[in-house]
Symmetry: C2
Subunit: 306 residues, 2 copies
């Protein structure tokens, strides 16, 4: 089984009450890929500029990520984001965004990327998401993320894109904004009404909720004492979630038992993501640590001793 | 086993996007008692005015609540709160607060109230909480709630009161405000450092988290589609939580298995509370419904099929 992710590759400068980093490796496709590669073979599709060195690609390669479709744009610069978090780590404050090569991004997929079993359309312009979705004709599970910008400026395209995937992964606030439903369960049902059979509501430190036609599932976040930088946690969640489903070969008809475990792995990967800046924690993460924390999460949430 | 609650008895006028009610029965002690009485014998201690009729007391009596210590203040008026909720039901907007007899409240406990096994000090002035705590010398499990007003204006008294109970139940924002810790797990640990061995963080629609020296536990909220009025949900949570522990005779040394189930019952009672205005849903709640929803919550949160 294999998995393709299309999205941003970035340099992030981040400041939190616990430190700061300049131009570290980031971007939604990167965070997603590094989490998903704990479970399955991952192809990354995204653009970088001349400032993106081999040493950055090596960080991905060393973790087993296929970077053949990382497109280097001659004369271009890599997407750059600068932001900070204050006392409340739930709120990111953007200080600078330079789209650079990402602004003109036109995804080009190799045969290997196009024939992946699982596809994650990171947060890019919805019409690009639709083109990539159409190109990946052997995909058995396609998921997308989006953001408030596209909900506000490209709603029709986004609704069309949502209608063409099996799974939507959004923040709970985005689900509310997209559907106009204040109630999350109703909002998720409205999203399912657009086509997808799986809706995942990401809720930051509060965890995540899953909605399907066959039932609901919800997990609190792990209660991490040492949160240093939440950047990328949502993408790490998505990587753990879809990486696990891809490994299981679950496809769009994944049953609730598989989806429950996928939610748990997503929660675990997100919890590691926030323990250090950018990708630093996930880059040194071992499969044993993932399994140990999954057991911790099961213990954290089990009502009855079994 | 029996349980005493000290707190407000009120008339609430509430407006939400789903309707409104004038001067309905409310107050923290009332919401708590109606939830706790699903599990155990409950004594309510709180003041009312001449405007509080026998028909209101009968609502409590019919559910088995002991109202012998509901103190009627001649010539007084009952505590009155008016508020509304907008699209986002997580935020209450207060339109009017008239403390009335509650402003001069000096708790008077009968022998039956004083000798209860479990004590819940609802959100009242911390020095009053301390006096009640001292009077209840046979209590094996004492818990308290508080609010931002007391954190800001009576911090020393509140810290002393916290040091005299076994369990603290606060909103997560209140734990952050009280301790100055942005991280909830660290904040909860700081509260434990003041004395209590159990800290419950209420998180609104996101559920609740439990912290003890022996471990953590967390539950998401139930994903209720028809939320009509969240007023009293936190007190219903506390009533389910402590009512169950009282029935089990758990005391301050309650182990994690008991505390887990108590958290689940608290979550269940809160979920019913929000389905209708004020006390309306809990007043018609049956034990079978409670057990059915507990099973639903277990299914909602179980990672592995057992």
């Amino acid at each position: 089984m294999s998995l393709t992710v299309v999205g941003s590759i970035a340099f992030d400068s981040v400041r939190t009450p616990f430190g700061e980093r300049e131009r570290m490796l980031g971007g939604s496709a990167v965070h997603f890929a590094l989490a998903a590669t704990m479970f399955s073979e991952v192809h990354v599709v995204g653009p970088v500029g001349d400032d993106f060195g081999e040493e950055h690609l090596d960080l991905l390669r060393e973790r087993g990520v296929d970077v053949a479709d990382v497109e280097r744009v001659p004369g271009g610069e890599t997407f750059f984001w600068a932001g900070h978090y204050e006392h409340d780590l739930n709120v990111a404050h953007t200080d600078d965004t330079q789209l650079n090569v990402f602004g003109e991004f036109e995804p080009k997929l190799s045969d290997a990327s196009r024939s992946a079993d699982t596809l994650f359309l990171g947060n890019i312009q919805p019409e690009l998401q639709r083109r990539v979705r159409a190109a990946c004709d052997r995909t058995s599970l396609a998921a997308l993320d989006s953001m408030n910008l596209w909900i506000a400026t490209a709603r029709e395209s986004l609704v069309a894109a949502i209608g063409e995937v099996d799974c939507v992964m959004l923040n709970d606030a985005e689900i509310r904004e997209l559907t106009g439903e204040a109630n999350l369960a109703r909002g998720a049902r409205a999203v399912m009404g657009l086509g997808p059979r799986i809706v995942v509501a990401k809720r930051g430190e509060y965890g995540a909720a899953l909605f399907t036609e066959h039932g609901f599932f919800a997990l609190p976040g792990l209660l991490i004492e040492d949160v240093r930088d939440p950047t990328g946690a949502g993408d790490s969640f998505a990587g753990g979630f879809l990486g696990y489903l891809d490994r299981e070969g679950a496809g769009a008809d994944a049953g609730l038992p598989s989806l429950r475990r996928a939610m748990a792995y997503g929660t675990v990967l997100a919890s590691f993501n926030v323990e250090d800046f950018g990708t630093e924690r996930i880059l040194r993460l071992s499969p044993d640590e993932v399994e140990a924390r999954l057991a911790e999460l099961e213990a954290l949430t089990r009502i009855s001793a079994s």
